[in-house]
Subunit: 578 residues, 2 copies
């Protein structure tokens, strides 16, 4: 009973249709990238009528499989000009799966802004203009009120940045408390949604069936193996690294390694690192709330539970979640070591519906261009507020770091394919540099998280400065594309890399749902198929090997403290995908 | 005694060296594109230390050949990311030729801004910071004063837009009255000059030799044929179309043809066309000054004399020159039909040192994005003033039309390769659309001015709506690359296309200077060689056939009054250069 829901925003019509045979068994990133590849003209304007926005829950999303509530969103990116898949953890995708909706394909363009409501009876539209121009925390409660509350529905939306078609706008989903805080954040898919005139998609799965499972025994076996591996691994276990300190546990680790990009990638060590690290968040919360706060799950069924909440001095909630990438982007990369200031910026990004990584990068580039001193948190907060007001300056920042560099004549922009680099210095961690260079997504750590072996010793410890990372980069990208297809969070990677039964469990879960007989070979086969589709789209969009390059300044500017440049040859980079 | 002058801005050293054998006989665009191709890493950042800025006078520049005072400027463009050659008419290039300087190659990057003085004794530097931040009309007189006046020297410079590294900044040269008004305008080479910390290049040719002529008789024969053809042709003769009405004589012609892009390329007819046409400029000047003003020569030795001056109601000078492209870009394309307002914008662009075509395009896109109503000249003037103040809004506009579209989420940006289209609608004039699509420079009418046959009946009249323009586009680009190599103004094209002896004359002039035996075959051979070098650079910079495309909206949005879309297939476009 799996089906596609095709939405024509021009005419505001919703059409359900069976999943075409060629797409059967595909889900998550595999399906979004397939549809974008097959249906979107690669040279279309990302904000024009011919781009499409595709949503698909993963293969096991909506089942009882642990940590599998990811929703994939795909389209042509206004930030990179290439294909984009971004995913988020939220109950929204599971509800879609319960309704048997394998993909939503949004086409055309509407005048004004609209709310799309989906439930077991179908899909309907209502005008949403009255909800535009506001902070997301101000509109989510009233939308929840109208549709029965956060137990009954989950909400997908854009903020003012998406309404204004800013190239860094993300697509927002609520967490389990209904907070508009979980993002398919990167690559500007929120601008695509804005260009279509779509403000909200509310999903109500009342009365829906469970996800159909073809082979319950195999599924159950897999689910148990996965749960056991996640519960056992030091990184993902209860009160383990992620549950205690959140992803920001990485701040001290990466800083110690000399790879924490600081002041727009001028150095790999940040003096204030300890003040913004996961440990500092834990201790700060303890001091302010009087309790040792372990983290919560962003989405139903997650047993890693890595999402934190930062509290104000009076103990009230300030922002959730403050991820490593955000604490770094809005902190170290801007030279800011004050968690309250960083939390405020993080909160504002969530209010405006925009990617924290890209905005931190844009502010750092603006600082490089003379708009503020590195470390000036008060000024940085002002800059983020410009985005919410959609002033010219806010629009520059909202268009991303590369656009900010263009506006202010800054040549030191740490990007690949127009997407700002995340929180790992490629000069000091060569494998992640390879990932940035070759990823179909632009600079993206989640495309192949080689940090696991290079920094954390997962699946064996690799020397981050060793340039021989070609195989690693390729294999991680294929494996990641498969994980993004299952609906699992990327953070299962630690457990499945180190614990063989966890890896088996992932495959068994998929075989259980689909009735397939996949083996480990199919993981890389499917991963490669996904990447090949994306590479083909990008090639047709005009990308060449010349786009698979780190920014020039990294090849001649040595990075302290190791004083290393980016020294992997172009020909070696080009070997990754041949 | 021809030599290269290599300038290292990092160390502020100037080194003269003989012209390498491989470059002997090359000049103008042939030489700038050769050096950029051979010396500039194609993937370097245009505003980083590894880009170079190259100046070269044409083969016959500085001789008595008529209408040949063009200076070519080359580098990697911050606007397009590809190779760029832009040229201007000015006495500056002739003085370089007199000094035997075949090319200046500017490398490295300085702190602060500097003035480079070149004369027969060598080259020297002095600090120029005190001259920055000002309107060009305010600094040129004092620079002239310091170096002996406009009879003694010519000045090359950037304005505040170049100082601020805006991607639409041009490189300014003075006309014969010393006005900072002649531009190598397109593609942002002024930003490259700014990134190098170079504010002025003052050239004094006192005591220099004449240009060496290998075969005086052949040269004289060619020069006479060229002069006769220019003096005879209806477009270029004294008191002919260009001398009377300037390039803006085209406004009514192109409007009549339904090909005058209006309101950001929404229609091909502008209701106010007659009010901004060359005829209106002529009549307005007559009314305000009491005289029939025929146009003047922008540079020494030009017998076409197409440069106009616009006067205020009190008869005082307002701006010079108000070209067709500028009157269109700042006028029709923004829906503005008031010549005084257009002249003020033109004047401000000259003051700030920025390309009128790109800025008109950026303002039109900003209007499309809701910043002003089409036709609101007062607001448009305010917008241009933002550029001079380098406000965030000014920086958006100064970064060009595509960047403006990115900032304001506008998908209707009429550009190719990031450069805004000039004043001819490609949907209504197919050959110029082919030129825009395939030019190595981005959308550029001067890359292959097929308007001559398609609109003006030069070399026979072609139907503008006929899509069979593949051969035409190719041949015009080759021939143009040769003209840009000679140092002649592109406007000799009318005469040499229609008058065979004029074409012979061009070749004889070159043979006379160089002692070569070129024939008509060499014109296309050399033109092809230039284009091939540029194509190779762009390929290495990452360009593909996907970049040789007109913007998507032109393929589905019919243009009034002919209601035509861009309908030449990709495969046909790709045949032009194979």
């Amino acid at each position: 009973m799996d089906r596609f829901l095709r939405i024509d925003m021009t005419t505001r019509t919703a059409t359900f249709a069976p999943v075409p045979d060629k797409y059967k068994g595909r889900a998550g990133r595999w399906l979004t990238s397939s549809i974008v590849h097959d249906e979107v003209p690669a040279t279309c304007h990302p904000l024009g009528p011919n781009n499409k926005l595709v949503f698909s829950p993963g293969i096991v999303t909506g089942t009882s499989s642990p940590t599998s509530s990811r929703i994939s969103v795909g389209g042509k990116s206004p930030l990179t000009g290439g294909i984009k898949e971004a995913n988020a953890g939220t109950g929204w995708g599971g509800r879609l799966a319960h309704l048997g909706i394998r993909a939503i394909i949004v086409e055309g363009q509407a005048e004004g802004f609209w709310l799309l409501k989906i439930d077991k009876d179908g899909a309907s539209f209502e005008a949403a203009d009255s909800w535009t121009g506001e902070k997301l925390s101000e509109v989510y409660p009233s939308v929840f009120d109208q549709f029965g509350g956060a137990k009954a529905v989950d909400i997908c939306s854009i903020g003012v940045s998406g309404e204004n078609r800013m190239s860094s706008a993300g697509i927002c989903f609520n967490d389990q408390k209904g907070r508009p805080s979980r993002y398919a954040g990167r690559g500007g898919l929120g601008a695509v949604m804005g260009s279509k005139g779509l403000k909200f998609i509310v999903v109500d799965d009342a009365g829906a069936e469970s996800v159909v499972i073809a082979d319950q025994d195999t599924f159950d076996s897999g689910r148990k193996k996965m749960a056991a591996a996640l519960t056992e691994h030091a990184v993902t276990k209860p009160k383990g690294a992620l549950n205690s300190y959140g992803t920001a546990v990485l701040v001290n680790i990466i800083n110690e390694a000399g790879a924490l990009p600081t002041n727009n990638f001028r150095t790999g060590r940040f003096e204030g690192a300890a003040k913004i690290a996961g440990e500092a968040i834990f201790e700060g919360n303890k001091e302010r709330t009087g309790a040792e706060l372990y983290n919560h799950a962003c989405s139903p069924g997650c047993i890693i539970r890595c999402s934190n909440t930062w509290h104000r001095p009076d103990g009230s909630e300030h922002t959730s979640c403050l991820e490593y990438e955000s604490a770094w982007a809005l902190g170290a990369n801007c030279g800011i070591d004050n968690l309250d200031q960083i939390a405020e910026m993080n909160n504002l990004c969530n209010e405006f519906g925009i990617d924290t990584i890209e905005i931190g990068g844009a502010i750092a580039v603006a600082m490089e261009g003379g708009l503020a001193e590195f470390g000036d948190g008060a000024k940085a907060i002002e800059l983020v507020n410009e985005i919410g007001k959609a002033t010219p300056l806010g629009r520059i920042l909202g268009a991303g770091a590369l656009a900010t560099g263009k506006a202010f004549g800054v040549s030191r922009v740490p990007h690949v394919k127009g997407q700002n680099m995340p929180a790992y210095e490629p000069r000091a961690i060569k494998g992640i540099g390879m990932t940035y260079a070759i990823s179909t997504m632009g600079a993206d750590h989640t495309a192949g998280y080689t940090i696991a072996p290079e920094m954390l010793g997962v699946s064996g410890k690799l020397d981050p400065l060793d340039p021989n990372k070609t195989e690693l980069a390729r294999n991680f990208q294929y494996a990641t594309a498969f994980i993004d297809t299952t609906g699992h969070c990327l953070f299962i990677a630690f457990a499945i890399l180190d614990i063989a039964s966890g890896f088996e469990g992932m495959i068994e879960e998929c075989n259980g749902v689909l009735g397939t007989k996949w083996t480990a070979d199919d993981v890389s086969r499917i991963g490669k198929e996904v990447i090949d589709l994306e590479l083909d789209f990008n090639r047709k969009a005009g990308f060449t090997k010349a786009d698979d390059r780190l920014p020039e300044f990294m090849t001649y500017e040595p990075l302290p403290p190791h004083n290393v440049v980016w020294d992997i040859s172009d020909s070696e980079i080009d070997k990754v995908f041949g």
